[in-house]
């Protein structure tokens, strides 16, 4: 209160009107039946409360501004991303149907952890790496099988003289 300048006057109704510097609206204090000392004490109390409330409002507004800034900064640094759609399609195509959903969920969980740890770019790269590691052996197996079938067909055609 020592740093706040204020001025008290009695209005026509007998109420004490307190004008605090920097505050557009006057504060009214009921001073009836109070000695000058008690009235001063009450005025100081009202001014202090008013000042504390104003400070609280200002702090809250400042905190909201900082929070907004931080949120926009975080979003700019690590935008919400999802795993590459083509990679997900490949996994669901080549994995066992029964476990396809849970496997995709697991891959998403690992992807989200990687986004937090390394950022979206590297997380996507790691996701693709995992897909290649997963799909590669299955494709190789398929190609081997196709090769074996081709040999069988060729053998059959030779035997039949086609």
């Amino acid at each position: 209160v020592t740093n706040i300048s204020w001025e008290a006057t009695k209005d026509e109704r007998g109420r004490v009107c307190v004008r605090v510097k920097g505050c557009p609206h006057p504060l009214y204090v009921d001073g009836s039946g109070l000695s000058d000392k008690d009235l001063t004490r009450r005025i100081v109390g009202v001014v202090e409360t008013h000042f504390a409330q104003e400070q609280l409002k200002k702090t809250k507004a400042a905190l909201t501004r900082v929070e907004g800034l931080l949120r926009s900064q975080t979003e700019a640094e690590s935008p919400i991303t999802s795993p590459p759609a083509i990679a997900e399609a490949l996994i669901s195509m080549f994995s066992a149907k029964r476990f396809s959903e849970s496997q995709l969920g697991d891959m998403q969980e690992i992807f989200d952890n990687n986004v937090k740890r390394f950022g979206p770019k590297r997380a996507k790269r790691l996701y693709w790496y995992e897909v290649v590691r997963s799909v590669g052996p299955i494709l190789f197996h398929w190609l081997k099988r196709i090769g074996f079938v081709a040999i069988l067909v060729d053998y059959g055609r030779k035997k039949m003289g086609l």
């Binding site: 999802s82 996994i91 080549f94 994995s95 066992a96 029964r98 476990f99 959903e101 849970s102 496997q103 995709l104 969920g105 697991d106 891959m107 998403q108 969980e109 690992i110 989200d112 995992e130 590691r133 997963s134 799909v135 052996p137 299955i138």
Partner: protein, 108 residues
């Protein structure tokens, strides 16, 4: 029905036992990466789990779907009694084979 266990099947079963009752894809994947110092592909883990389930060594149950996983449910795995017996038998067979052999650099 094939009751033998390959090494991948053994390690996946051991990881399930270690992570019980929270053994699902990610926890098995992380356990294997941590204990084996080698990342096993998720597809390999699921292919192995599928084989083990067909053999009756592992049983699965579906958990609740969560938003963090894109609304996809977890699949939890558990070793069956038959699975434990098979794992035990495979380790005993390995022990029988190992006994009397001396490996250079082995601790015991």
């Amino acid at each position: 029905m094939d009751t033998t266990l390959k090494q991948t099947e053994q390690v996946v079963m051991l990881a399930i036992m270690r992570k019980h009752p929270d053994a699902y894809g990610v926890s098995i994947f992380e356990e294997l990466a941590k204990r084996l110092d080698n990342e096993v592909a998720m597809a390999t883990i699921y292919a192995t789990l599928e084989k083990l389930e067909k053999k009756g060594f592992v049983k699965s149950r579906q958990g609740a779907a969560t938003a963090e996983r894109g609304g996809r449910a977890k699949m939890f795995f558990e070793i069956t009694g038959k699975g434990q017996a098979a794992l035990n038998a495979s380790f005993k067979a390995l022990d029988r084979l190992r006994s009397g052999t001396k490996l250079a650099g082995a601790m015991a």
